[in-house]
Subunit: 337 residues, 2 copies
């Protein structure tokens, strides 16, 4: 961080207020915090490190960085069925970052906390000669023994995904200058879907007891469904036509089938991909309408076939289409390896 | 991380085995973990980010980096009275790091886990164009409402510190080539005290109900006692002659009083500085002998005097000596700002 910024001043001026509501945070005046789940509940914990220039373009502003950092973590625990409670933040700051930046970052976190009902529990701030790196550990609460894992799927179950897929990949391409979208509203929508993912914090908890396995879509729909397949020792078939695209994404990819397929591997969607028995179809429709989030049935879980890919995507004629490895690795490889 | 290393392979080959014993870690096959304190207990959480070249010289080997990273975190929760349980690890790896490095790092973590009874709960691995950055969130367990905070001290109470102070600062100076120590055993002892701090994992929990306030000595004895003073709205007087030095440190600083004073501000000691009422003197002697860790009474808590420093250090004649700001900031300023 810039010369003259003191860690303790930063905590007092920017971050201490973000801890109010979590008594164990002790106003960030201690070097540790205490945390006790409510009676009958347990914690769901997820850890995430994001690096400027690797996980997001280093041109985006501190308010958007804060928003995105917290939301991708909220998405992790929402997909497990947990309700957000608290988080720790370790902020590794390059010299180019000044007090203004940190103030804007913290103010944005404050807005997000109010929106999602989550509180800063503790953290750490330090300098680095490298890029901005943000580490969040997020803590959700869930009834004991209720976390929706990746490993609970059975063959014959339906595969679902919330919201729409591919917007964030297109939004990132716009932000990086790799894709031109003429219509201003469409451009803003796609960028927003990358910068401000919508963690499914009400839909996820509603899926407890209904979904058999779930994951959030961060690496790409195909990759994250693949994680469910691996953990459940199964495979999956996905119907390309059933994968939900926003109107904007549909208008952007038009008839470019390879690009359309890429949306399934692009990642950063922060939707929930999950499986459920056929008997749960009505319940899932109800959850969709009650939480006001679209949920699309996109495929089916199958037994593994040796030599075949875990996730097979079929086009409108039922023929398998070629999908790349996809996911975050593309962007990361370009930038960090 | 180096081209060709895959995050998922790394998890399977190096880290998954470190999660055994913590059922909520789900063999690191999920994107989140569950964690439930034992009945009547709560969690103590501490987050720490350390950066190569900032918090440790980037020449030290992966086994030592792993050891130090975990131990400094164990120290944080030990000073709060908690027993270690689990931790998350977010590893941000530069391109120069290959599979060998990660294997050595993980093997060393395994040794440390066995020594301290702590288990890997989850984490994240990603690449960076910057330096190696390690983020640990550590989780301890403690009886409900028992965490020893910084804010519980009262005027008139004794100030204590465990172990010896200043060895790590001298060890770091040796490692950086800023200090020459002729005797090989002394040199090895000092380096070891920097590279392998001894978190006071049995002494800390024994202090629950005895110590009124505590902190671990990471920023320096004066700075960390200062944190207790701030949080407790008090000041402290420390008797320079009472601050415990190892025989090696004493031999190294000899009659160089400024250097001797520097030991009180150097940091990285990972001892526990704490306060306790005079009535607890016998209990503390017993805890020292039962946990086989020296505990020295080094001063007294006082009311604040406006304009005076929070922590006053007195020499053998009772005269205040000049102490710098001290702590980690020196090293960090040189390296990262």
């Amino acid at each position: 961080m810039a010369t003259g910024i003191d860690e303790f001043d930063l905590i007092r001026s920017c971050f201490a207020r973000l801890s109010s509501g979590e008594p164990g945070a002790l106003d960030l005046r201690d070097d540790a915090a205490w945390l006790r789940p409510e009676a009958g509940m347990e914690l769901v914990v997820s850890a995430d490190a994001i690096v400027a220039g690797v996980h997001f373009p280093d041109t985006i502003d501190p308010a958007d960085i804060a928003r995105r950092a917290l939301r991708v973590n909220l998405s992790d625990i929402a997909a497990k069925g947990a309700r957000p409670r608290a988080y720790t933040l370790s902020l590794v700051l390059p010299q180019t970052v000044g007090l203004d930046w940190v103030e804007a970052f913290a103010a944005s976190l404050g807005d997000e906390q109010r929106e999602f009902g989550v509180t800063l529990l503790g953290g750490d701030t330090t300098g680095t000669p490298g890029p901005l790196t943000i580490n969040i550990n997020i803590f959700g609460e869930i009834s004991e023994n209720s976390m929706i894992t990746r490993s609970g799927a059975s063959a014959g179950e339906d595969v679902y995904v919330s919201g729409s897929i591919g917007d964030a990949m297109l939004g990132l391409a716009v932000l990086k200058g790799d894709l031109t979208v003429e219509n201003g509203d469409d451009r803003a929508f796609l960028e927003r879907r990358f910068l401000r993912p919508d963690p499914r914090v009400t839909t996820g908890p509603a899926l407890v007891g209904v979904a058999s396995a779930a994951a959030d879509v961060s690496d790409g729909l195909v990759a994250d469904l693949g994680h469910i397949c691996s953990a459940s020792n199964l495979a999956a078939r996905v119907d390309l036509e059933a994968v939900p695209l926003s109107e904007t994404a549909r208008g952007t990819v038009t008839d470019d089938q390879p690009l359309r397929i890429n949306l399934l591997t692009g990642g950063d969607d922060y939707e929930i991909v999950f499986t459920a028995p056929v008997s749960a179809r009505d319940s899932i429709e109800l959850i969709s309408s009650e939480t006001d989030v679209a949920i699309s049935r996109i495929g089916i879980m199958t037994e593994k076939t040796s030599g075949a890919p875990e996730v097979v995507v079929l086009d409108g004629s039922g023929n398998p289409v070629e999908v790349g490895v996809g996911g975050f690795r593309h962007f990361e490889e370009e930038n960090a390896r």
